[in-house]
Symmetry: D2
Subunit: 350 residues, 4 copies
């Protein structure tokens, strides 16, 4: 058990950064986080409560975001840095953070992928490619349900993507147990609320464009696909992932279609899921025939999973739900920090 | 070309019935429709404008719904009856309508299915099973894009289901042209607005239950599945259909996953779709790489279709959109009436 | 009755401009409108169907927006120009349009106000202040319900603001008839959908910021206040107008609180409203005790009005609703054009 | 400071009852609440997690609702009963609860009003009118900001209405300090999310009826009006309250229009609000010119208050926001319980 940990948040103004900060402020075992902005726009307020008035009056005092510098970070006594920054920024800063001895949880996509073919979609332009390649392999994929022990010792934890989390946690039990006939492929049809697209205004996040509608996007080649392939041990030809933009603020539901291998019954499939969930406090497996809905896991760190098997046993449909800003981002980041510093996995998340 | 047609609407108070009535009132070639209620609740207003105040002041005068009787129907000089009634009611009344010489467009699921195995899900309790069986075969599935000439002469048109329309129109070209490798199956993941669930209040349509959420339902065995199988010539094992309830009032988006046969290129797939759309004024095929969104077809009779092929050519994703109350119900019903009475297919629908 | 009129739309890509264009395309007495962009961004498509795919396939062919110039406008044989441009642009172009003999309907706030004190909020910077001042007085406030005959002959019609329309039409009868005790003031609490804020992305129109919330803004001094004062003949101290941003795409509801003069009964108030509505096809007065809701007038050109009087007769609450993009913008613009060119007021609006 | 308190919830399945139960489960100083249903429908599950699957897996075990009886209540060692029941039920049970020595927090409208004229709107049919009349006077209106010391000792706390809370807390400072010119009246225009209408399905809470719209209702004579009058010391003629139904699940925003007395400046008004908020941890007064929005207080127990004064000083507009299920119901109920049992007012509410 560690003494109180000092965390720092880089980029608290985005949706994930704000959700993270709010939860760090209420976390019983960490000090009030230090807040920093990287290359701040001087016309924008450094006071986080001006960005999120809901923070006012909680007794935290002024929540001022300082301009980021390594010295300022050190002066605060920082133990762990949360990068809530664009992946280009994370890519650059994480190397130096390691050199300076800071432990890091990176919420961007910068360090999640081991395979160069999967990283290609990000078009990283590394200043020191050799060092970056080294860190690519040292970084630990921050799925506590899959890599608990590695996370505990990790210097750099790559917090998983929101879509990836919803699909990896739903499928890991069955792929690990070899229950799926992969020849037929795995079809993942995901639907996400708009906060997944970030806080920057754009034509695609304008209220009028999103409301009363639904759209598919990145039908092939979404950046999170590589995470799913690597973590589930699938080949690209075996996995189809298509996201959709829902007219709701937050939440993801993934509908996953697979063919169980011959002889795999509903009982086997259920047993596999329940076994997987043992000791994983944020995985909720629903009773047979019951399926999760987005609203059940909103504002929580749960990933909810349910499935149904077709009457002839030839097809299974998995449904998983989570809150993209919690289990899909800030909550999972805190769960990772808890593991890194020896806290109970659930601290600050209930 | 017929003279002005007299139509009658049974059940104008539901969402489809209202949408139909509104469009019949504005149709240039039909008289003001006669409105009837079957077994009306005497505590409820017979004036349609009390149910839908948006109808007021359009110069149609009082839109009174009379109590249904065959004599009243005849007295109005009715040429065609639209059944916007529960399928049990349609199942019973359609037989007598035929005996009395009325042409019928039935918006329920009562007469859409030819195969007894597919009809089983409805659990029909026919008073005269032999006559019902006869009518099952005489009824014409009212998809103008598939059965135009049969509809023109039909006495009983079974207006297709909303989900079924979105999937049949998207897939018909490729299944007809034999472009899909059916061994891998066809996965249809559909999402619908709440009006598809009808106007009767229920826990599942309560605003608070639907808002900010998403849920899958009828993961296997939804009633519209049989229509898809029969119209596309697929076997049950080849088609997976799963609907979801969207927090929007209206509109359907279906995402459909297929494997093209070896050697079938994007050009072949596109050509097939475009050929299919020729002469079909309400099918819009999107340019390669562009996909429809729900908002594009709202309040129109279009079914919008687009697709993308994976870079390796092994998977195609079709997206189709329509307004469940228009092309998925009332608009398609009017399109059918137009064909039955020799009008231009587009009359009253633009 | 004029022969077919040639219209031109400047700025068809915004929400009002698109709504206008769509309705002009379907208008039975005008030719297909000429579309122009003022200082177009060359990186953006000139094809309107790329901005609004819902336009595709309607048989209008390519809807290309040309770069604006006076010569191009003349070459198209333009009779009337609709300015769907920022008010600064309208302020500049309208003067030259008049000099060149084009009739104009301006949808911006540039020419709506007669009083310099009311115009001050816009901070106009006129190149030729004298000519602008002249045009300020010549411009006709385009409320067909108030200024029908002036509109018929007008060269420049200033299409009213959306909020202003909802409040002016609700109050005009009672202020004209002197039924309100103005000493107590008139309180107007309005709520509008997000399209009223325009199509440009901004933090305040981001889906996540708007959804599940409500906010008041411009509590004092909103730009539309001046229109209300001038058209209703009120002094600033007598009118309070506060708008709110609703989490819906379109529609306005205004709740208006007044004190009737002593002795003014519900019957008098109702009679006044009904008298006002005579001959005004787009004003719907609801039966006593019934109130309009936003959904009743969506996608129509109606302004719906209802009221209730307190049991003691001391307070009346008026509720008015309209679609901000139709009666609050594009529909009213077409209504004005209809009057300017001798068409039936309702053409293209039903 | 009391030892752990045993609470009981009657009616945990409604929105307020569920919100309350969830918060009691997490409250650090109370035992797991006993759950009861009054006259339960035997076809409905007694397990609360079947009603709200989001409760699953939180480590609370089965949350079974027993059939209510006084003996069962006593057997659980109940110290305080929360009535989340219809007001008729609360009206009947509260009397016997007092006789049996249970302390009560009633979330219905049964016991909030002191004046018979105000109570008339509820049409109570008391079995023992004399005893009911006695309890009407003994019951304490459960606004901790107004009646803290009475609540501490109360046997029966009448938890305030949601609308009433939003208006009373916004106005109490200024009415107490005599800053408002009441001759001109106080106009309260409130807007509420749909959960305020309860969980029972009805035409007015159907998703399709609520979405994309807004409506005013109970324009005069809403049940919460009496609470406002009594708590603020106003006469009926001085207060106008009109609620509206917003297409969001939860949250209330009230816009309140008043005339300050001559000479009352913005500084005086602000000082009065800030003075009022001293020692009231759940009242947040916004900085001058800043106004609360519904999203700021969602899922919290705050009532947020801001105001602006017109440039000429003649009118002030107050805006207050709260979550109708938290500060407007369950959160305030817990705050009351905290006071009744000597806990910190904020326990279980942060």
């Amino acid at each position: 058990m560690s003494a109180a940990v000092q965390s720092a948040v880089l980029g608290a103004t985005g949706y994930s950064g704000y959700e993270l900060t709010k939860r760090l402020l209420a976390h019983p075992s960490v000090k009030q986080p230090a807040l920093f902005r990287v290359n701040p726009d001087p016309t924008q307020s450094p006071n986080l409560a001006d960005w999120y008035p809901q923070l006012s009056g909680n007794g935290y005092g002024q929540l001022v975001m300082d301009a980021f510098s390594w010295d300022a970070l050190k002066a605060k006594g920082t133990d762990v840095i949360f990068f809530c920054t664009p992946h280009e920024v994370s890519r650059e800063l994480a190397i130096e953070a390691g050199d300076r001895g800071f432990r890091v949880v990176d919420l961007s996509g910068a360090w999640r992928l081991k395979e160069a073919t999967n990283r290609a979609v990000y078009k990283f332009e590394d200043h020191d490619p050799a060092q970056a390649a080294l860190l690519d392999q040292q970084a630990v994929y921050g799925s506590p349900e899959l890599h608990k022990y590695a996370i505990e010792k990790a210097e750099l934890v790559a917090n998983p993507g929101c879509y990836a989390t919803s699909i990896i946690l739903a499928l890991a039990a069955w792929t690990n147990d070899g229950l799926i006939d992969l020849e037929f492929g795995v079809i993942c049809d995901s639907k996400s609320g708009v906060s997944g697209a970030g806080k920057a205004p754009s034509p695609t996040t304008h209220f009028v464009e999103v409301a009363d509608s639904l759209s598919a996007y990145s039908v092939f080649g979404h950046r999170h696909t590589g995470e799913m392939l690597e973590q589930l041990g699938l080949e690209a030809s075996q996995l189809q992932f298509t996201p959709h933009l829902l007219p709701i603020p937050r939440g993801i539901l993934s509908t996953i279609y697979v063919r169980p291998k011959t002889g795999v019954t509903a009982e086997v499939l259920e047993y596999s899921l329940k076994e997987f969930a043992v000791g994983k406090p944020f995985v909720r497996v629903f009773a047979p025939g019951k399926l999760p809905q987005i609203k059940y896991s909103l504002h929580t760190n749960y990933c909810d999973i349910g499935f149904q098997l077709s009457p002839d046993g030839s097809r299974a449909v998995l449904v998983s739900c989570l809150d993209n800003l919690v289990k899909g981002a800030a909550g999972q980041a805190i769960q990772n920090m808890n593991l890194m510093f020896g806290f109970d996995e659930r601290e600050g998340l209930q």
